[in-house]
Amino acid sequence: MIRICFLLLSIVLFTTNQASAADKLLNGIDANFPPFAFIDKTGQPSGFDVEAMNWIAEDMGVEVSHQPIEWDGIITSLLTKKIDIIASGMSITAQRAKQVNFTLPYWIIKNVFVVKKDSPLTVDTLLKGKKVIGVQQGTSEAKWLKEQITAQHFNYELKYYNSSPLAVEDLLNGRIDAAAMNDAPAMDAAGKKAVQVLGSIGMPQEDFGYAVRKEDSELLDRVNTSLKKLMASPHWEVLKNKYELNK
């Protein structure tokens, strides 16, 4: 019995990973967010943010690994030190900036409506025609859409999903009239399913940034330095082309 206990203890100790060692970074990603972060055919984390973070980590001289985490709990995971950084298409918002520090913005994002192909719906009817709109829970566009119901007297009903691909799936099932999401994943969906991008939801543009804990100001500086270098290097264009972000 004692031997079994020791065996269990050693398994526990060897499999645990506290991502606090200075030369190792654990990046939390939303693996349901192609093309910025997803799991590729071989089962490895991949995507624009994942590859950018790999480049940055190499430049910083640290090792990085990518841990898929449910989006709704990703900031909690950062604050409870389950991960060290979030490089996964996170919009810089004032509310999030109260909890975490953001790097320089590296990507401008628009939020768009996705509807079924050949749908007669317009942005205006979606906003004012008592439609049902699907959106990923915990995102800035979800928050904005909810606020506009009272702010602009829109009358749509919101349905929340764990990921935007699930919202697209339910759009095709006919349970919702449109799905709201960032433009890059919307283009990704339009390339794979019978849906089309309708147009901007009317929300101001947002910037993506990487998020770190407030107290990790040294890490923030180092990531910013390497991020600047990456954005000035030709590799940045290569990445954008690879993940079709220039469309």
Partner: protein, 226 residues
């Protein structure tokens, strides 16, 4: 349809490693729950009033709070607070283990109470201590009686383990969702996930039935009119 089939075939190795992670979670949780459950059951039946109160509190808590809430409480709250650097897989196994421990305790408690009390008198007539009697006379019988009810816990824990995806444990459900998000082939992939869970249930229940037959005492526990 061909594209969905090729997606499923491509994803199979990735999903299979999720299958083994799910199996590992369930086995670890069942084993941990067994250790907890047996000890709690003995405490609940033979302990003094204070011990019984606290064990009752434990069982009440873990049976009363949803597994999802427990996962968040322990993974984001208690474990970091106690400086226990458990990863998602270990955390899920522990939380499911503590939950099933509460349920298993009641299964074993019922089995212990089902045994005739005269066995205690007989054992003490032979000069056995209280502890010896519990360990060598009561528990071996009670555990055998518990196997059918206990095997229910296996399939319950197996299905509860699907909740682990919310904290990012790389089990079947999380991996299915990742592949579906990339390929937009949700339905075929969830069918495969369902089959994998079914396979795990079937394997586990078959193993437990075999175990039940191996450990039964001839002439004591019996199956139907055998």
């Amino acid at each position: 349809m061909p594209s969905s089939i090729s997606t499923v075939i491509d994803a199979l190795p990735y999903l299979m490693s999720g299958f083994f992670n799910t199996a590992a979670i369930v086995l670890a949780a069942m084993f941990f729950g067994l250790l907890l459950g047996v000890n709690i059951a003995v405490g609940l039946v033979y302990g003094n009033r204070i011990l019984r109160f606290f064990l009752g509190l434990y069982v009440w808590f873990f049976r009363g709070v949803p597994v999802l809430v427990l996962l968040f409480l322990f993974y984001f709250g208690l474990f970091p607070y106690l400086n226990l650097p458990f990863n998602a897989l270990v955390s899920v196994s522990l939380v499911l283990g503590m939950t099933t421990g509460a349920y298993q305790a009641n299964i074993f408690k019922g089995a212990i109470l089902a045994l005739p009390h005269g066995q205690f008198n007989a054992a003490s007539a032979l000069g056995m201590s209280h502890f010896q009697t519990i360990r060598t006379i009561i528990l071996p019988q009670a555990l055998r009686l518990s196997v059918p009810a206990w095997s229910n816990e296996y399939s319950i824990i197996l299905k509860d383990s699907a909740l682990a995806f919310v904290i990012g444990a790389p089990e079947i459900m999380a991996r299915t969702q990742f592949v579906a998000s990339r390929t937009y082939q949700h339905l075929p992939l969830y069918i495969v996930a369902g089959l994998l869970y079914f396979l795990l249930t079937w394997l586990g229940v078959a193993a437990l039935r075999y175990f039940e037959q191996r450990v039964q005492i001839p002439g004591y526990s019996h199956h139907g009119l055998q």
